[in-house]
């Protein structure tokens, strides 16, 4: 009996927080630091390859063909909008409007999917039309192939993050719909929001480096 009481007492201690933020939030911040460093490594590689003598880097505005920078700018706008709608999810949840929170969550997921769709379209166009040397050995690369390599690894790694984020958000949505996430568990949505905003922020960096500069 005594040991049972002891283990009950011990169980009640699980999740005690000394900083006043939840473990999950702290863990997500730590994870994001890690993730930021991975992107930093890839961006450092990009910078080194681009700003090296004789790199023959193409002008991004010419390198993307008809999808152009405009389409990706639109895509960036969509991703930022989905970040805004993520803020609404949390705000509505805190107000207790769970129905509206669910709707905003759907909107966020939709934004992520549209982003991925446009990116897939862009990749297809680039691989098929612009950079045929990628798959056909007969073609000569018209300029530094490092441009394509850094482009694919940076946008691809980011796209992977968006895909994970969409699945993550979907899980949160299902939790909201089944009632497992109530209006009091704001922490869960907040942590998912941290991840989603991070993905958004990194995209702004990637977009600036790869497309604009």
């Amino acid at each position: 009996m005594a040991s049972q009481n002891a283990s009950l007492a011990a169980d009640s201690m699980v999740g005690e927080e000394s900083l006043g933020v939840s473990n999950g939030k702290l863990g997500m911040w730590a994870f994001l630091v890690m993730d930021a460093m991975t992107f930093a490594g890839l961006l450092a590689g990009y910078a080194r390859l681009r700003w090296t003598p004789g790199s023959d880097w193409p002008l991004p505005i010419e390198a993307f063909g008809f999808t152009g920078i405009q389409l990706t700018a639109l895509n960036t706008f969509i991703l930022i909008c989905s970040s805004v709608s993520m803020v609404h999810v949390l705000a509505e949840q805190m107000r207790g409007n769970m129905e509206r929170a669910k709707k905003w969550m759907l909107f966020t997921i939709f934004g992520g999917l549209v982003f991925l769709g446009i990116q897939g379209f862009e990749w297809t166009h680039l691989i098929m039309d612009m950079w045929p040397y990628l798959f056909d050995e007969g073609y000569e690369a018209a300029y530094s192939v490092n441009f394509a390599a850094t482009f694919f690894i940076l946008t691809g790694f980011h796209g992977l993050h968006v895909s994970v984020g969409v699945i993550y958000n979907l899980i949160i949505y299902l939790g909201l719909r089944s009632g497992k996430i109530t209006k009091d568990d704001t922490s869960v949505v907040e942590i998912a929001g941290l991840y989603w905003h991070f993905v958004d922020l990194v995209w702004i960096l990637v977009f600036t480096f790869v497309y604009l500069i």
Binding site: S7, A10, D11, V14, G27, T52, V145, F152, I153
Partner: protein, 529 residues
Amino acid sequence: MCTTDAKRIGVLYLLFATFMALWGGILSVIIRLELAAHGPHIITDASFYNALPGMHATAMIFFFIIPAFTGVANFVVPIQIGAPDMAFPKLNLAAFWILPPAAILTFAGFFMNSLPEFGWTAYPPLSNSVYSPIWGADFWVIGLILVGVSSTLGAVNFLATVFNMRCKGMKMFQLPLFTWAMTVTSFLILAATPVLTSALLMLTFERMFPGVFYFFNPAGGGDPILYQHLFWFYSHPAVYIMILPGFGMVSEVITVFSRKHIFGYVLMVWSMIAIAVLGFLVWAHHMFATGIALEIRVGFMFLTMLIAVPTGIKIFSWLATMWGGSIKFDTPMLYATGFLAMFTIGGLSGVVLASVPVDIQLHDTYYVVAHIHYVLVAGSLMTAFAGVYFWFPKITGRFYNELLGKVHFWLTAIFINVTFFVQHWLGMKGMPRRYYDYDPAFELANMVSSVGSVVLFLAQFIFIANMLWSMRNGKIAEGNAWKDGFTLEWQITSPPDHHNFHHEPYWKPLIRQHVGPDQPGGLWHRYDD
């Protein structure tokens, strides 16, 4: 196997690490046997030999030392801060279970007869698809990415645990030094490991899509030096990932066995932080011979030498802790003091290598091998032994056999020197590292080194036998097994119960004096069961 209890996961880590240490040890013994005398001996295939040093290093660094420290920390850190478990128990288990598949992938080349021959550094162009067009190399790279994922997940967990799960009353500057060491190490892992991951990702793409992706291959406008920068941005901090937890363990051992509080606690913490920060600023000292600008080399030389300052502070603090204490020389203390003496040799040869002109001379010679082994074997391995012997009674509830422990220590300490000390001489005479054969003039010293390595390897079975036997038959250990332990883990039963504490502990800073537990003002923290 599926427990989420940090203590059990810690033991899993330790078992895995022991297994990998034996594996890495066997590889090193094969290398040394081949080099025992001039000319080919036990290995007829030079390219097989060529792969061994890289595989040995991979096993020891990524699958032995780092997991071994993580294992001890999983057991000890939550208890030292008065927490019932780690912050994310399931993540903890996942981080462990990534390791065995990662190990299988990394060493898959052994089963497929396609061993990567580019060493543990995997410098392109040697590691690209032109020079290493083998499956084993692809698996090796992917295995290493997985290890990185595992250790970053672990680091996230440790940081959340230490920052957020401390018991009431415990402030950051009251943490035990081992916990502090794990905190600083976790920051290092968090900031450094992903950069290696990014480099390995680029390498994978370059290998998988030859002719399409050029990051490091100069033929396609890539830059092999870029890889080295990214690689060492991780791998230099990695040597601190491999020694800081050891520093923490030694701090615990020396305080308990000197029966005194640590000398200069705050300075000890700050010097660890300084080592970590400087650890990020010195990576290019591995690249002095690559032709980077002289100004850059001089800057990195200066920063590298600067690391000796906080390290020196730690060494002198440990000595000052022992000064005037009533020292007990049980096995953990022997290992801690042995570490102090021998790590100093490794540190000093590091200062020698930090000097640009000397490094150009000694680059890729056995001197570097001697240096890294004095740091990692006489440093990380000996501190790991200190820690495992020290917490063995806490982990199992029984004492190990003291006589066997001492025999193990003396054999290890003596034969580390027999094995590695002559390698300084070999390096200064110009014997290159990683070579299959050498000038006959180096034969005697190589023989000495090889004999040393065999004895050193065999001596480790004493440790394993001792641990296995004592787990069942050792003398029963009480909660405060060493009688003088004053951190929280010594205030609970050995082995600890499921959630460590029966009721919520609180931490009250006491003035640590040299008196017993029953006397007021002693060095014990309060946890009344």
